[in-house]
């Protein structure tokens, strides 16, 4: 039961991550691979504050999210000045560079990771409480992002993504909108990182490698880019399938790459056979076109 609850908590955290990544890459059309590093910033800042400052958990998680948001603004503001493609390259460098920094700093625990993050809730109530918190945050994140993209600001985001030139010609500032979308998406990822740190009480650089991007990207593409519930379907499916493989009792050195192969094959199949994803409507011509143009 404890195992199932932990898997569900992990799925809820990944739903938050995938939904926030979908806002950035699917709705905003901003090509980035650095989402795991904002998750990491949230986790590390939250963990460090909890260990050294002794602040209340909610404050730690909020500050973790703010730190991720600030870092994302710095990254986007510098790289989006030139062209969208540079965000991709800059995000790759940012991800790898910051991980290298985390590995080398003593305060972050170096390659060994950050342990001894205090347990905020103890006893039998711990897992059910975290279950409720993570599921609640996942629901709020998905519905919040859905509300943003369905409102007037969301229509502006779609217009900016599909026809940036026309959007700018109307007097709207595409650059600031991109930065806002990026910051919100990365801030939500930072919040997910904070919750992750409190639940698992241990974070290490390996958990945030660039290969994690493939995992989150898979969830978004498989579920359906630029769809409200696509990332939910993607995250549930892609975390549930490896759990099924877990019961095959394969050794870890086979299990990990096998899970990776499943992820990547699914993305490749969906990219070519159904670019709109499971939740994407291939008959909905404008959305299908937007997904293709992405």
């Amino acid at each position: 039961m404890e195992y199932l609850a932990t898997v569900t908590i992990l799925i809820a955290i990944y739903v938050i991550l995938a939904a926030s990544y979908n806002l950035v890459i699917g709705y905003g059309g901003l090509a980035t691979v650095a989402h795991p590093i904002f998750f990491a910033i949230g986790a590390y800042v939250t963990g460090l504050l909890a260990i050294h400052a002794g602040l209340p958990p909610i404050v730690c998680v909020a500050l973790g999210a703010v730190a991720a948001m600030v870092a994302s603004v710095l990254l986007a503001a510098s790289s989006l000045r030139v062209s969208g493609d540079y965000l991709l390259i800059a995000s790759l460098g940012f991800q790898l560079g910051l991980l290298q920094l985390i590995r080398n700093l003593e305060i972050t625990g170096g390659p060994g990771g950050l342990s001894n993050i205090p347990s905020t809730i103890v006893g039998a109530a711990r897992t059910p409480t975290f279950l409720a918190i993570t599921i609640g945050l996942a629901v709020v994140s998905v519905l919040g992002i859905r509300a943003i993209v369905r409102g007037p600001y969301g229509r502006a985001i779609t217009a900016m993504r599909d026809e940036e030139l026309a959007f700018t010609a109307l007097g709207r500032n595409a650059m600031s909108m991109k930065i806002v979308i990026f910051a919100v998406g990365c801030g939500v990822a930072g919040m997910a990182g904070g919750v992750y740190a409190f639940y698992f009480q241990y974070v290490s650089p390996e958990q945030f490698e660039v290969l994690q991007s493939a995992q989150i990207l898979t969830m978004v593409v498989l579920g359906g880019m630029a769809t409200a519930y696509g990332p939910v379907v993607g995250a549930v499916l892609l975390l549930a399938i490896p759990q099924a493989i877990t019961f095959l009792d394969l050794p870890q050195n086979v299990m990990a790459p096998l899970q990776g192969i499943i992820f990547t094959v699914l993305v490749l199949l969906f990219l070519f056979l159904r670019p709109t994803g499971i939740m994407g409507d291939s008959d909905n011509k404008p959305r299908a076109r937007a997904s293709e143009a992405a």
Binding site: A31, V33, Y86, L88, F94, V254, G260, I261, T264, A294
Partner: protein, 299 residues
Amino acid sequence: MYEPVILAQIFWTGVATSAPHVLMTLGFALTLKVTGLWNFAQAGFMAIAFYTMFFALNGLDLPIFVAVLLAIGTTIAASLATEVYGLQVLRERQSGNLMFFIFTLILSQFIMYVITLIFGTEPQTLFKSILSPVQIVGGVAVSDWDLLGVGLMIGGMAALWLFMAFTKEGQFLTAVSDNAKLAELYGISARRSYRVTAVIASLFIVASMYLVGSHGGVVPNSPLELILGAVLGTLLGGIGRVFAAAAASIFLALIQSFSILVLASRWQNLLLYGFLFIAIVVFPRGVRLPKFRFALAGR
């Protein structure tokens, strides 16, 4: 510490260690110039090239030239298959840059997972020993590996320059990179040019991975980090300027080499990322040296 012979040694080591990076940058930058793609699938092809050689040498006990030929064959096959069944399909669908990016990155990761499943995550080298015979030239230690690296680097650059400047196929690549649609109006097949580019890039990849694998350990994830050097060289050199990208790679290797005078070794890798940001923020279109023009006397 700052004696001339030490500085000369650091300089030579920097130039020699830049060789594999220069070769992979040539392939990466040429692909970007002709196809307009940041082709991260090349990281996967690098893994294919290395592990083919590794398996041929250590699993099948084949001679080195057969191992290299096999690696060339598998890398070209993988590269062409990706071009024909992947990139071409996305081009026909008029997919955006994001789709190309996702495809090349995920393909690269797929290849790495498959290789991890087969070969594990232990660092592997092509040969049992990575020690190379050394001779002292003017107080500077020069290994056989250094000479091979520098030879391949200079040979590769010269061969590419001759190919681009003096062959029809090379000129077609330049035409397609300038304007693919216009080139097609003149009867040049863009598809053929993309495939020729894939083959040339594969040759550079194999040469590069031979040098990397005969000098140190390689794990399945290594190529993804190695390709960042190629990205950085391409950015610093300026998109579309293949030889400037190669020169930038040498410059970066020299910076990393000389940094041992002031930085602890654990921080040296971070330099690369620092330069990446400087390149993006300050030199987004590459570093362009001023052109010196000499006024003609008596004109």
